[in-house]
């Protein structure tokens, strides 16, 4: 399917490869291209148009800077998206995501072509740093990113907890819990330190909306807070107060799952070395898969 507008696509390094801005495709088409490209992926995460639109909004994807590649027949061969953010210190960062090449159209260096196009877009927009994540085990993509100069920063876990109330805990039950008001939720997020992955940055959470927060005081007097997103079917985007004991973190998770025992939970991008992983495991979370976070600095 050709782009919905008549804007001519840019010519690529080979005559039979061109790229068009993703903004020329509607969300339904973008989701379809992405789903085709990821059909044989290690962990396929297909999207419908609604989810694609939410993804673009939540993660500041610039569709003008994102690309769809096409072959000489005008067929889409792959897609790659670029998120753009300005930090408070003026640093402009890019995030490459949703990259994929349709299986039957692979083998013509389309992946590299898409990456070159995205990096050019990022450079033209003044990015000093580009980050991305690749699922552990996706060797071809990882090798491509290394070849382009990306370096590993850390390993991240995507974890799940099926619905169910936690095992009773008298100390946690005795904690005093208060629901945070909207302005308090925002204040908590502002108090976070740096280091969240792109999808868990405060900007992502605020964009996603439906945020809730709890503050908790244990009988010992220790205090902490948690912010999370509650959607119709899932709890997600957990942020636990930094610098508190693992017991406080466990108590916060306990109280969330006690309040929402019927909801499934997905938490993305917990650093493998984060001591909170042990707390999540204690609360019944399981590892779904791992990502390697990588960065390229100019």
């Amino acid at each position: 399917m050709a782009p919905k507008t008549g804007i001519p696509p840019k010519t690529g390094p080979l005559e039979d490869r061109v790229s068009a801005p993703a903004s020329q495709f509607d969300f339904e088409r973008l989701a379809a291209i992405y789903n085709q490209a990821r059909v044989d992926y290690i962990v396929p995460m297909p999207m419908n148009a609604k989810r694609m639109a939410e993804y673009v909004r939540s993660y500041d994807i610039d569709l003008e800077a994102s690309v769809v590649s096409l072959n000489a027949h005008g067929q889409e061969t792959g897609v790659g998206m670029l998120g753009l953010r300005h930090d408070e210190d003026g640093l402009k960062r890019g995030w490459i995501t949703r990259l994929g090449v349709i299986p039957e159209r692979r083998g013509h260096k389309v992946g590299q072509f898409l990456m070159d196009a995205l990096l050019t877009q990022a450079r033209d927009r003044g990015c000093a740093l580009i980050q991305l994540e690749v699922i552990v085990g996706n060797a071809p993509a990882y090798q491509l990113f290394r070849k382009l100069g990306f370096e590993d920063t850390r390993e991240l876990l995507v974890i799940r907890r099926p619905p169910g109330a936690p095992e009773p805990n008298a100390e946690f039950d005795a904690a005093i819990v208060q629901t945070l008001a909207e302005d308090e939720v925002i204040a908590c997020l502002r108090a976070r330190g740096p280091g969240a992955s792109w999808v868990e940055e405060t900007r992502s959470l605020v964009n996603a909306g439906n945020l809730r927060g709890l503050s908790l005081t244990l009988p010992s007097g220790e205090q902490g807070w948690v912010v999370f997103q509650r959607t119709a079917f899932q709890l997600t985007h957990f942020v636990l107060s930094p610098g508190v004991s693992l017991d406080v973190s466990a108590a916060l998770l306990y109280r969330i799952h006690q309040e929402f025992p019927m909801q499934d939970t997905k938490v993305e991008n917990i650093p493998l070395t984060d001591s909170l992983w042990a707390v999540y495991q204690r609360m019944g979370y399981l590892e779904a898969f791992r990502r390697t976070e990588m960065v390229l600095r100019w």
């Binding site: 789903n35 044989d40 419908n48 019927m262 499934d264």
Partner: protein
């Protein structure tokens, strides 16, 4: 003959699985996403559900959990249909109340038999 619901967004996979199961004399309904899958399962109370873990709206784990929260669907055989690495597939499937896992790509010679093994015998 059993009524089997396949919740699978990939049309090629869904068609192949449905064809193999129909050839084994089962009645098959295909639902292409999680929401439609849940509606179909709630309305038809099938003998078995085959569910892809990666769906475009509500993912397979969440759909499995929602199914298992319904009293009348707690015992319906629920099979995860996934290309995930085997260890992950089995631990996730078990945690989310699935009775087993069939990994993709499917073996066309044994698929119907694999599914049939999860069907409860008629009393």
């Amino acid at each position: 003959m059993a009524l089997i619901v396949i919740i699978e967004d990939n049309p090629d996979n869904a068609r192949l699985a449905a064809r193999l199961l129909r050839a084994a004399d089962h009645k098959v309904i295909v639902a292409e996403d999680g929401e439609l899958g849940l509606t179909t399962v709630f309305e038809t109370h099938p003998d078995l559900v085959l569910i892809d873990m990666g769906l475009p709206d509500i993912d397979g784990q969440t759909v499995s959990a929602l199914m298992r929260q319904q009293d009348d669907l707690k015992r319906t055989p629920l099979i995860a249909f996934t290309a995930w690495p085997e260890d992950t597939a089995h631990s996730m499937a078990k945690a989310y109340g699935c009775d087993g896992v069939i990994t993709k790509p499917i073996n066309t010679r044994t698929f119907a038999e694999q599914v049939g093994a999860f069907l409860q015998p008629v009393e």
